[in-house]
């Protein structure tokens, strides 16, 4: 035996190789589908947040205010009456402010229906007083009614009750729809990943078989697929979140008429938006990893 044969051979340098072979070609369509789903999920999350914020604002506006409508009557100056009454109401306990609106303000509110060319001067247009409350639950309706009665003014007090119930129901429905949409998209993403993980296991049956034969546990084999799909989910999540942020920025920058765009996501650069977009890759990776693990473990249990 030569000296070279007596020498123990040196093991190769470097770390252990990946047990699952690279699968870039097969994974590409899944990456694209996952990125699109994450993109939609981010838009849905931003939309849900936007809907939530808008509905809270609408409810705050309705609950924290009253409106007094002064009907014009013969021989009285409605604009002046509004100013006088607003001053009295402003001094009432529980009222934070009382702003008298002019006939011109009322005409401006009616402009979407009657146009901006002005209404006939003899058309009786109610004049409004916008009242802010200290406590939405403690509106001093009786006191305001007394003031109006004492002044002999023909007016209605609108506590927005009939609107706020409808708005509350609409807001609740909008929130449910937004979060339902988000849940559906996440569920679809999980289902797609689970399907892909099963397909990947079938494609890599040789690897799974070889690992089982040498004593690998189901958990070990599932862990390999879990890590691969976590990585894929993270990358797809990052791509989807970046595109969603770009779209939201475009909407925020380009959509100056926010009222017309309240169903579109609105990027407010609030902590929620930043956290949601930053967390999207992690959540996508987590959903992908969990889906893949559960799918592979179930498949392995069926097989052996």
């Amino acid at each position: 035996m030569s000296d070279a044969e007596k020498m123990p051979p040196a093991p190769p340098s470097g770390g252990p190789a990946r047990l699952l072979p690279p699968d870039a070609g097969r994974d590409r369509p899944l990456f694209i589908v996952s990125a699109i789903l994450v993109f939609l999920a981010c838009l849905a999350a931003l939309g849900a947040r936007s809907t939530w914020t808008s509905s809270e604002r609408w409810m705050d506006d309705l609950d924290g205010s009253l409106t007094v409508q002064i009907r014009p009557s013969e021989g009285r100056d409605a604009d002046q009456d509004a100013i006088d009454i607003a001053r009295l109401i402003a001094e009432t306990p529980g009222v934070s402010r009382a702003d008298a609106r002019s006939r011109a303000d009322s005409e401006a509110l009616l402009a979407p229906w009657f146009g901006t060319s002005g209404l006939p001067a003899d058309l009786p247009v109610p004049v409004l007083i916008d009242i802010g409350l200290d406590n939405p639950d403690g509106a001093p309706l009786d006191e305001i009614a007394d003031i109006l009665e004492t002044a002999g003014i023909d007016a209605d007090i609108d506590d927005h009750g009939r609107w706020s119930d409808a708005v509350a129901r609409a807001s609740q429905l909008a929130r449910l729809l937004a979060f339902g949409l988000l849940a559906l998209i996440l569920g679809a993403a999980a289902a797609v990943i689970a399907f892909a993980a099963r397909a990947s296991l079938v494609a890599r049956r040789d690897v799974a078989d070889a690992l089982h034969i040498v004593g690998a546990t189901d958990s070990y084999v599932a862990g390999l697929f879990q890590r691969r799909f976590f990585s894929l989910g993270m990358k797809a999540g990052a791509a989807g979140a970046i595109f969603a942020a770009l779209i939201a920025i475009l909407v925020a920058v380009g959509g100056s008429n926010a009222d017309a765009l309240y169903f579109l996501p609105e990027l407010l650069f609030s902590p929620f938006e930043i956290i949601a977009l930053a967390a999207a890759p992690l959540i996508a990776g987590g959903v992908a990893a969990l889906s893949a693990r559960l799918a592979v473990e179930e498949e392995l249990r069926k097989r052996w």
Partner: protein, 247 residues
């Protein structure tokens, strides 16, 4: 070197096939039947024991059930009926999580090698140690020495696809024995190699048996069987018969 022929017993009608000292029985089958799904019974009333340190051939024509019998032994399938014991444990009573530990005590060599093609020879041989959670630093030198022992030191970093059939089979054998299993099973190990390589592989199995590993080789290559005076189990139509040629 002669294989250890003693310690092998078989009975087609055994009532209690397991001896008092179960530690000496590596694998015991008692009236085992096996079928895939609702298909016909592949194995019928198979009873035998493999004792520690024995060297046994399993022969039979194609379709006789050799591979199915081996699959039961390395726990890839469960028996449809009867009792299968591994290292004294009734496998039917074991939980699924217990199987990997038992599988690690069994090395398996296949005719078609079943290498992981994207891994090097070194990584393939090290696979059982790696899945057992050992650190590379702890096993690297042992694996390299084993690769050298099967004559492939110069192919340490080669991919299996670049090797000949005989070389790949030696990698498969090295992988099967790297964690020093108590039982080594080979399913047609010489099916894809030339006669000269087949003789060299057989010598490798004999050497492993001499070192204490229980060996079971399934083959229809009668030349291989005639080369040793080891006991032979024959399967025909799912039924097992036994011939102890040393007797």
């Amino acid at each position: 070197m002669a294989a250890k022929a003693a310690g092998f017993r078989v009975s087609e009608t055994a009532v209690n096939p397991f001896p008092q000292s179960e530690s000496e029985v590596i694998v015991g089958f008692d009236a085992v039947g096996m079928r895939y799904g609702r298909g016909p019974e592949i194995l019928k009333d198979v009873s035998f024991q493999l004792e520690r340190g024995s060297f046994t051939f399993l022969t039979g024509p194609s379709g006789a059930g050799k591979t199915s019998l081996l699959r039961l032994i390395y726990m890839a399938n469960k028996a449809s009926r009867g009792v299968v014991q591994h290292f004294g444990h009734d496998t039917a009573a074991l939980q699924r999580k217990d199987l990997p530990d038992l599988r690690r005590r069994i090395g398996v060599v296949f005719q078609e090698f079943r290498m992981l093609e994207h891994l090097s020879v070194f990584e393939n041989v090290a696979l059982p140690l790696r899945v057992a959670g050992q650190k590379r630093a702890n096993y690297a030198e042992d694996v390299a020495e084993l690769v050298n022992w099967v004559g492939l030191a110069h192919h340490m970093e080669s991919r299996p696809a670049t090797l000949s059939g005989g070389e790949q089979q030696r990698v498969a054998i090295a992988r099967a024995v790297v964690n020093q299993p108590e039982l080594l099973i080979a399913d047609e190990p010489t099916g894809n190699v030339d006669p000269d390589m087949a003789r060299r592989l057989l010598r490798l199995f004999v050497e492993l048996n001499r070192l204490g590993t229980t060996v079971l080789i399934a083959t229809h290559d009668l030349t291989l069987v005639r080369a040793l005076e080891a006991p032979v189990m024959s399967l025909a139509d799912g039924r097992l018969t036994y011939r102890d040629r040393a007797a």
